[in-house]
Subunit: 162 residues, 2 copies
Amino acid sequence: MESIVSKVLDKVDIQILDILQKQAHVSNAEIARRVNLSSPAVHTRIKRLENEGYINRQVAILNPEKLGFDLLCFVFISSNIHHAEKLDILEEAFRQMPEVLECHCLTGEYDYLLKVANKDRKDLQSFIRKLNKLGITKIQTSLGLREIKYSNVLPILDEEIE
Amino acid sequence: MESIVSKVLDKVDIQILDILQKQAHVSNAEIARRVNLSSPAVHTRIKRLENEGYINRQVAILNPEKLGFDLLCFVFISSNIHHAEKLDILEEAFRQMPEVLECHCLTGEYDYLLKVANKDRKDLQSFIRKLNKLGITKIQTSLGLREIKYSNVLPILDEEIE
DNA sequence: GCTGAAAGTATAAATTC
DNA sequence: GAATTTATACTTTCAGC
């Protein structure tokens, strides 16, 4: 059975995407060597992959501890709001808050899961206050004690899936 | 009150880090223009920031939906294991699983929070089976219904903190 | 897709502040 | 000590095939 992906992306595209999602700064010449292609061919493919939306963005992952972000929290929110427009406003507020790194709408007991980076307890408190001002009252906050794994790498290589 | 950060990083370093954590592919010349410095000066600073561990890595963020990862899950785990060595083995197993994007040790009801990318229900089931084989029985899985925000950007610019 | 050349970029060296 | 300018190597990008 062929997956949807293989209809538009060939094996080389997948290889290129996998190299880039692990190390974005690898040169086209080096990628070309690894996938047995010329460097202009690799360049053309990367541009195509960007234009077609397979690559969202290229970023540097900073070290949170070295930059003073000692307090990573996971905040579980029940909104109790069921008016679509008000939910839009709430979600836009989450997007605008710089300390909110991630926000997901979830199934289960809580409606939203937020990943929040704060420098200290004072910052965390002011963040919780912001949530309260938005009318959010049912909040459960879990502190991140230790990061076991933090990756952006999607398992797109077939070999990786057992 | 001066923060610990400002003793080793000046304002320009922070500006450079902020540009890179948002767009890693910006050229040194363009960064130089934005921070009013020459491009070799920017280059030297970036190398220093890398060597001193402020920049962990540079990566391309791929589009999970376009690559067939329709099933993002958050898995909450209570290990019931209190033997340090066995926990190490468990955590190493999480690190090795390609579908586990993130794993955090948490305070609260559950010991671990995992962010897991699967293509479909079949993959999710085989993932849950892998957890069971590791001796994990208390699992609560929440499905990610919608991504409201997904960012790596730490709020390191003073202007961003209200 | 390739080769090869042009334009742009990163890095090193020498120099100034 | 950290910046700048100048010089060189490397990379990307655009032709022509």
